[in-house]
Amino acid sequence: MRTPISYFLLVSALLFTIGTVGVLVRRNALIIFMSIELQLNAVNLALVAFSRQNGNLTGQVLAFFSMVVAAAEVVVGLAIIVSLYRKRRSADVDDASLLKG
């Protein structure tokens, strides 16, 4: 193992940021959702990297839980997007601004 763990962390940071920027700049609800998935995965990477660094499996367990929860979240989230689309004929999150003050 020659690769320093911090490299993985930096990759994780970059991916997370890319995901964040994606959430901020994209309007398509599905792509925003994908960006969120990217963020989650970036965090998973960081968790597994920490697990490696600390020499125990806790980080991997946490990443495992994160994946399971992500699966549940995707299912519900996509259902919401589908019903949003049925209502508004659009997957643009800017169109769903009912809460505008």
Partner: protein
């Protein structure tokens, strides 16, 4: 046996509760029978209690029955407690006895009313509150009864609330008496601040220690309550209007309950009035003025029930006058006697109305009814003569004692005035009698005597009215005065004026003069009283309208009050109060309007916020470490 005392009010209460909860299930007249039975049982209990009381030595004729502690705040303690003493027993007997007869009368009178059971529930409740009032052992419980009586009068006067006049009269009665009630409540608070208690036993024995002015204020506050409840000037206006209720209600209000409460209160609290001195005089003057005023007004009435209402006011005036003269037992005597003969008169009037088409109450359209309704006429005549003060009927002794008290106290001016009042009493009552039962018939339809049940009530009460005089053949040694002595003290010795016998003769003479005058005008045929009405139309109208007191009130008090209310409603409330509130609302909403710009509704804007926060927190952590 004094443990029975709480049951005296409890049984009518139970009757009321049963009737209120199960009212519609009672068929035909059963509800009326039940209510009458409840009051009758209460009367029986009162008699029992009275019996035990009489069997005791004079000094021991007082007992308290405390049910439980009602209010206990610090040193302030009020119990639900009843007091059995001569005064309360007499009152309870009167209330239940006369009340029972009125209930009995109403069983038939109210027959067919769609709210029959409810009527009797209210009646029972009325009796219950009145009994609480007279049997209470402290002022607060008395006040409960006091207010309850007001409530029941409201419910019963407005019993036929479909009629606007009835609803208005009920409101008027309630509001007008409330003025007095408020004064009474203030008086009670004042009393508590002075004595730290509201128990009779802890207030009245110490009343003489009060400073003169304090006593006057306290007495006047109590008297204001009495004035309201007993329809004395200037708060009498509700009573004539109260005739809108069913006649048994009027009888109950006038004879047994409600209006007598004021007299009872004054007599019960006489120590406070005596401590003031001037207060008693005020009571006497107010009573006398009311008596004369109401007497004059009664002469002007064509409506039989209004005439009786003014007569009640005037008789109550006499009671207050008696109390003000210090003749408390005479006042109570008059109260009892009045209960009988006024009940007779009212129920007789009810029978007449019942017999005539369309509930006729205008006496100018009656006349000669004695042939059609002999029994009613006989009982009425008993009531009339009793009221007018013809011996040996009860009214004679009672009124004679009251009037004589002035003479014996050496207040000749007041005595003359009282005699004038008595003259007026004889005059207007005779007028009413002649117009209704004598002379040529002017009525429509074919009147007849009421059914047997109503007749029974009429006869019983007439007998009472005739014989109640035995209670007080003499002001000093009569049964009632002696019985009441432990409470009100012995009747004052005469200090001036002619002897009792002379005074009695003068009284009878005055009554006869009144009767003769009325005969001359209304029955002899020598004077065309109809033409007289036209000739003295303005005087007639003044009398009829009760010297325009009512109109004065609506002009001088109600009008400005309405204006003030409008001012409060449309200026103070709308501009100031609402303005402040809407101002606050506008402030909030405008600041919210500014703040809501942050709420774009766009998820991505919020996400920027989240990221900003995350960056800031992380930055802080990095910089700090």
């Amino acid at each position: 046996m004094n443990i029975l005392a709480p049951f005296i009010p409890a049984i009518p209460l139970a009757g009321a509760a049963v009737l209120l909860l199960t009212g519609p299930r009672w068929r035909d007249r059963s509800a009326g029978w039940l209510a009458s039975a409840a009051v009758a049982v209460a009367f029986g209990l009162a008699v029992t209690v009275f019996g035990t009381l009489v069997s005791r030595p004079v000094t021991l004729r007082l007992s308290h029955v405390s049910l439980f502690e009602w209010i206990g705040v610090g040193s302030f303690r009020v119990d639900i407690a009843f007091r059995v003493d001569p005064l309360s027993t007499v009152m309870a007997l009167t209330v239940t006895g006369v009340g029972a007869m009125i209930h009995l009368y109403a069983v038939d009178y109210m027959r067919g009313d769609p709210r029959y059971a409810r009527f009797f529930a209210y009646m029972n409740l009325f009796v219950f509150f009145m009994l609480v009032l007279v049997l209470a052992d402290n002022y607060l419980l008395l006040y409960v009864g006091w207010e309850g009586v007001g409530l029941c009068s409201y419910l019963l006067i407005g019993f036929w609330f479909e009629r606007k006049t009835a609803a208005d009269a009920a409101k008027k009665a309630f509001v007008t008496t409330r003025i007095g009630d408020s004064a009474l409540l203030i008086g009670l608070i004042f009393m508590w601040s002075r004595f730290g208690s509201l128990d009779f036993d802890r207030v009245l024995p110490h009343a003489h220690a009060l400073a003169n002015g304090t006593a006057t204020v306290m007495a006047m506050l109590l008297f204001a309550g009495a004035v309201g409840k007993s329809a004395q000037l200037p708060l009498h206006v509700w009573l004539p209007d109260a005739m809108e209720g069913p006649t048994p209600v009027s009888a109950l209000i006038h004879a047994a309950t409600m209006v007598t409460a004021g007299v009872y209160l004054v007599v019960r609290s006489h120590q406070i009035f005596e401590a003031s001195g001037v207060a008693l005089t005020i009571v006497a003057v107010v009573g006398l003025v009311t008596a004369i005023y109401a007497g004059l007004s009664a002469i002007g009435q064509d409506d039989i029930k209004r005439m009786l209402a003014y007569s009640t006011i005037s008789q109550l005036g006499f009671m207050f006058f008696g109390a003000g003269m210090g003749a408390y037992s005479a006042a109570i005597f008059l109260l009892v006697a009045h209960a009988f003969f006024k009940a007779v008169l009212f129920l007789g009037a009810g029978s007449v109305m019942h017999a005539l088409p369309d509930e006729e109450t205008d006496m100018t359209r009656m006349g000669g009814l004695r042939r059609a309704m002999p029994l009613t006429a006989v009982t009425w005549v008993v009531g009339w003569l009793a009221m007018a003060g013809i011996p040996p009927l009860s009214g004679f002794f009672a009124k004679d004692q009251v009037v004589a008290a002035a003479s014996q106290a050496g207040r000749i001016g007041l005595w003359y005035a009282a005699l004038f009042g008595a003259l007026l009493t004889a005059l207007y009552e005779t007028r009413g009698t002649f117009l209704t039962f004598f002379g040529e018939p002017r009525h429509r339809g074919h009147p007849h005597d009421p059914p047997s049940l109503m007749r029974t009530a009429l006869v019983s009460l007439a007998v009472g009215a005739a014989l109640a005089g035995v209670l007080g053949l003499s002001a000093t040694s009569g049964l009632l005065p002696k019985f009441l002595t432990p409470v009100v003290g012995p009747t004052k010795e005469a200090v001036a004026g002619p002897s009792e016998l002379v005074l009695s003769i003068i009284s009878v003479a005055v009554a006869l003069v009144g009767i003769l005058t009325a005969w001359l005008v209304y029955l002899s045929g020598r004077i065309d009283w109809m033409a007289l009405r036209v000739r003295f139309a303005s005087a007639k109208r003044t009398f009829q309208r009760g010297f325009y007191v009512n109109d004065f009130y609506s002009g001088a008090i109600v009008g400005p009050a309405k204006l003030a209310a409008a001012f409060v409603a449309y200026v103070v409330d709308r501009r100031v109060v609402d303005g402040t509130l809407t101002g606050i609302g506008r402030l909030v909403s405008s600041s919210a309007g500014a703040a809501r710009r942050a709420q774009t509704g766009l998820v991505r804007t919020y996400a920027v916020g989240i990221l900003l926060g995350a960056t800031a927190v992380l930055g802080y952590l990095v910089v700090r470490s």
